[in-house]
């Protein structure tokens, strides 16, 4: 009776659990050890009862909890109390009998263990109960007991284990989640599986294997998440745990960042590539909460690991935040391999943006003085570059002054830039002279990175200071003339130069003229160098008869004919220099927007450099020339027209990469110069259609074509109805057909594009409407083409019903953007013109009357009931479609029940509207 009273209290709040456990323990002691204390009336009353009575009553109360639904909080509270009490009872028993013998193979029998055994024996059969809540509660209780107790009798342990193991395949996710909770603990404690110690490792690892299997395969995210946070972190489990960073479920992914990784301890134990992956996955997750958790992990935990505070408390929260520490930050960046992850699409940029955002203490503490700039490393330069980016781009300018305060003025930046460029060029030259040396090469990579980062800073500076501007300008102009300057640095140098020149047309001309001067300088090195080089290579080849370290790249040591070797070296050098010049030009052109013919510098460059390059016999030169010609065509319509056939030729004849380049050029041209070029060149459309259907052989081409066609449609570049309909239909098919199932670039691009396109304008929706049934028909045939027993089709293609539902959804006029709807709407639901769905209904009825397979008819007939019908549609269309619907009803067009109901539904709703129209 008193036992029941304790339970009654325990279900209400966990706050009193400690006290209640003590009370209950007193009762238990009274029952088991006789009237040791008769002071309390409760105890003396209880002393009339035996241990068996107490245990029976206890179990009776526990059974009470078993049928309680999951949603009731009292169930869980009581179960927690049971665990707490058992723990308390066993502890007290152990106190009474003294410390348990560590080596003892069996545990001492005490009232606590006897009760536990009885309880577990009673509950175990319930694990296989028919009622799902009984299974849920019993599993929960068992798992909870396991997690509350330190040791369990071995026989019992085996029973628990096998009982729970069956439940990891329960059909209820809630039961599986509880089973996994208990087994996770067992798996983490192989010692408990003794005494047959040779056997126990197997048992434990078998268990781990099973749990890892569940972690990967369980359909319920709750179960996977439960395992994620409860599985022991071991070398064998860790890869599988970390893999959950890409789980389909956002909350599970988030748990990797907010729970697993903080619990893991020092992140430096992870491999370099794993750190980078985790950071990239987390910071670029599709779910904002995952991104936030990953950002916090980086700027609060990982930095802390480097700053060297003692390991955090169990809660996963750092005990105390260490003060800003530049060395720690540098180490952190080194640990995420900033040299690689700090590149232009690297995740370190995002990581640091979040870092500066979330760590005002670091923001304030930074000092970028001479000493800092004199000893730049890839890590430290990245610190100042990202700090600068953050201050310039974030917070609506409120950090601008911080950057002004902390960063040196333009002249000084130019000074340091000059210095590091020199170091870089010297290193490259040394490397060319000495041949490849790994250390040296690593060094140039770092020097290159430093220069690039400084150029990134230069891109953001304010050049209103004339002295600084001139200094930077002449430095970059000279730098650009260095043939050894690497490509990325070249690109940035050109961009900064464009930035320094005025944004207007005159500035653009100035920009072109000085870049082309530099190109001429670089080009001259062929003329300058070659005669000298002739001599030099002659001598060097002479002096080094063995010839294993000939510096000329094209040199073949075996070559008997010196003049041939010479010529080859010369030709190679010419190609390299040409490539370099074309690259500078390409960088320049992507920063130019004025009319080509108005700029004599550009006309000259086109004729003297680009056109010859396109005609070159050397493929790399030709291909780079092509890109430059494409860029020029964007600046001159007639040039574009003249060369359209050429670009198409490159698509037809080229290799994959060249095909993609050609597609890019063609699409940009159409975007800039308009669709007339497309309508006057029927073969051009064929290029797109062919590319869109090239998925099987060239998935990359299909991906590029998908984005290209999307741009043309969304930008309304294609005006011709037939053309746009053909493109759109091809895209819809590509979105669903199994051939693209493995092509995530295509799938994800279309997943984004199709709804955006449809909902952008009513005209787009109507276009979709006009191709919808054709596309569906094609997809029907695609599906029919597969064998029935081909089980994979369901993995690669959604059902036709789903596709049809998508098409209805994309053409739903209520979802379409319209300026009128965007305006503050009146009270209540507003009716939207539904002509597009009415027309779809008419299309459907036409098909139903036509010659299409029965199964397809079924699918499209069902759509009639899903269309939106509204009194705001045009009267003409409403009446017309209503007439068609009536005809279908009268003519008993449909035989299947679902189709008939759909038809009746639209018949009734249209009928109402027509009646109102008649009445008006």
């Amino acid at each position: 009776a008193q036992v029941a009273a304790v339970f009654r209290e325990a279900q209400r709040t966990t706050a009193s659990h400690r006290k209640l456990a003590v009370t209950l323990r007193k009762l238990q002691e009274a029952c088991c050890y006789g009237p040791t204390s008769t002071k309390k009336s409760a105890a003396s009353a209880a002393s009339d009862f035996s241990e068996d009575d107490f245990n029976a009553e206890f179990v009776r109360c526990v059974l009470r909890v078993m049928p309680i639904k999951k949603s009731e909080g009292v169930g869980e509270k009581t179960i927690r109390f049971i665990g707490l009490f058992l723990r308390h009872a066993v502890d007290k028993d152990n106190e009474a009998v003294g410390e348990p013998d560590e080596d003892a193979s069996t545990m001492p029998e005490t009232p606590g263990t006897r009760l536990t055994t009885l309880l577990i024996e009673t509950i175990l059969p319930l694990l296989a109960a028919k009622d799902k809540f009984v299974r849920y509660r019993s599993t929960q209780l068992i798992s909870h007991i396991i997690n509350s107790l330190d040791a369990i009798d071995d026989d019992l342990f085996q029973k628990l284990r096998s009982g729970l193991l069956k439940r990891i395949r329960d059909k209820e996710a809630m039961v599986r989640a509880q089973a996994v909770l208990g087994l996770g603990r067992l798996a983490g404690n192989p010692v408990e599986a003794e005494p047959e110690s040779d056997n126990s490792d197997d048992a434990a690892s078998g268990l781990l294997e099973k749990l890892v299997d569940v972690l990967q395969n369980d359909p319920s995210a709750d179960v996977r998440r439960q395992l994620l946070v409860n599985l022991p972190i071991l070398p064998t489990t860790l890869p599988f745990l970390l893999e959950r960073a890409r789980d389909q479920d956002a909350a599970t992914r988030r748990a990797v960042y907010s729970r697993l990784l903080p619990a893991l301890g020092d992140f430096r134990h992870l491999s370099l590539s794993m750190r980078e992956k985790l950071l990239r996955w987390g910071l670029r997750d599709r779910d904002e909460n995952v991104r936030k958790a990953a950002g916090r992990l980086f700027r609060e935990r990982w930095i802390e690991d480097c700053a060297g505070t003692p390991p955090p408390a169990e809660t996963g929260q750092p005990a105390e935040v260490s003060p800003p520490n530049l060395d720690a930050l540098l180490e952190l960046l080194e640990r995420v391999d900033v040299l690689n992850s700090g590149g232009e699409n690297g995740v370190a940029l995002e990581a640091m943006r979040g870092f500066w955002e979330g760590r005002p203490d670091y923001r304030e503490a930074m000092v970028f003085d001479d000493a800092f700039f004199e000893t730049l490393s890839s890590e430290s330069v990245f610190v100042v570059r990202t700090f600068n980016d953050f201050c310039r781009n974030e917070g609506d300018g409120k950090f601008e002054s911080l950057a002004e305060d902390k960063l040196p003025e333009v002249t000084k930046v130019a000074f340091y830039l000059e210095r590091y460029i020199k170091v870089l060029i010297d290193a490259i030259k040394r490397l060319e002279e000495q041949g490849v040396d790994e250390d040296e090469e690593g060094d140039t990579v770092e020097q290159e990175f430093i220069v690039e980062q400084l150029l990134h800073i230069a891109l953001t500076l304010d050049y209103s200071d004339e002295v600084g501007r001139r200094k930077m300008f002449s430095l970059l102009r000279q730098t650009l003339s260095i043939p050894e300057l690497p490509e990325d640095a070249t690109k940035l140098t050109v961009a900064v130069l464009r930035d320094i020149c005025a944004p207007d047309a005159a500035g653009e001309k100035e920009f072109c003229s000085i870049v082309l001067e530099a190109v001429a300088d670089v080009h001259d090195t062929i003329v300058d160098d070659v005669p000298e080089n002739d001599d030099e290579s002659f001598h060097s080849a002479r002096s080094e008869v063995s010839g294993d370290s000939t510096p000329t790249r094209g040199g073949k040591s075996k070559s008997p004919e010196l003049s041939e070797e010479e010529a080859a070296a010369k030709a190679m050098k010419e190609i390299l220099i040409n490539m370099k010049c074309l690259h500078i030009v390409q960088c320049m052109l992507s920063n130019v927007s004025g009319d080509l013919q108005q700029n004599e510098h550009l006309v000259g460059m086109l004729n003297n450099l680009v056109v010859p390059a396109v005609r070159s016999h050397e493929a790399p030169v030709r291909e780079r020339g092509l890109v430059c010609l494409g860029l020029c065509s964007l600046l001159d319509r007639s040039l574009a027209e003249e060369n359209l056939t050429l670009f198409m030729h490159f698509f037809t004849k080229g290799h994959t990469a060249l095909q993609i380049t050609a597609l890019h050029i063609l699409t940009d041209i159409l975007n800039v110069h308009g669709a007339q070029l497309l309508s006057s060149n029927p073969t051009l459309l064929k290029v797109y259609i062919k590319a869109l259907r090239s998925g099987a052989r060239h998935p990359e081409v299909q991906a590029a074509a998908t984005v290209a066609a999307s741009k043309l449609l969304l930008g309304r570049v294609v005006s011709d109805h037939e053309v746009s309909a053909e493109l759109l239909k091809t895209l819809v098919i590509a979105h669903f057909e199994p051939a693209s199932a493995g092509n995530q670039s295509v799938r994800q691009a279309l997943n984004y594009f199709l709804p955006v396109f449809c909902y952008a304008r009513p005209e787009n929706q109507d276009l979709m409407r006009s191709v919808a049934l054709d596309a569906l028909h094609t997809l029907y045939n695609v599906r029919e083409g597969f064998d029935d027993d081909d089980a994979d089709i369901d993995d690669e293609m959604v059902s036709l019903t789903t596709i049809a539902a998508c098409l209805v959804d994309w053409t739903d006029p209520r979802k379409c953007y319209s300026p009128a709807a965007a305006a503050p709407a009146g009270v209540g639901e507003k009716h939207v013109n539904a002509d597009v769905h009415l027309n779809l209904a008419r299309d459907i009825l036409e098909r139903l009357g036509g010659n299409v397979p029965k199964e397809e008819k079924k699918i499209i007939a069902a759509l009639l009931g899903k269309l939106y019908v509204s009194p705001a549609s045009s009267e003409h269309t409403t009446r017309e479609v209503y007439a068609a619907v009536c005809e279908a009803v009268d003519g008993q067009l449909l035989s299947d029940a679902t189709g008939r109901n759909a038809l009746y539904k639209i018949h009734v709703s249209l009928g109402k509207i027509v009646n109102t129209l008649d009445a008006a």
Binding site: D247, P503, E508, K711, V756
Partner: protein
């Protein structure tokens, strides 16, 4: 010990009444075993997930890719058709 201590609260939140003996219906619910293990288990086909419940590689597709030129990613596609005539791509402007 089956002494009935009755304590009826204003049962607004659900509470378990531990005092009275178990209702036969409840006893039934607790002790009725499932007809077979398979009746309460996940169908075997759901034991394995082909994708291991992982997401495919994210391609991070966004409107940016649809609104910029391939060759000049920094330049936004102009509304040239509306402005007519001369080609106009805001490039120099958008850099500042």
């Amino acid at each position: 010990p089956t002494e009935p201590t009755r304590q009826r609260k204003e049962k607004q939140p659900f509470e378990i009444d531990f005092a009275p003996p178990l209702d036969p219906a409840v006893v039934d619910a607790i002790y009725t075993q499932a007809s077979s293990n398979s009746a309460i288990s996940l169908p075997k086909k759901d034991w394995k997930s082909k994708s291991r419940n992982l997401l495919p590689d994210d391609k991070h597709f966004s409107s940016k890719q649809l609104l910029s030129l391939f060759l000049k990613p920094k330049a936004r596609m102009g509304r040239r058709r509306i402005l007519g005539g001369s080609s106009w791509i805001g490039n120099a402007d958008s850099q500042r």
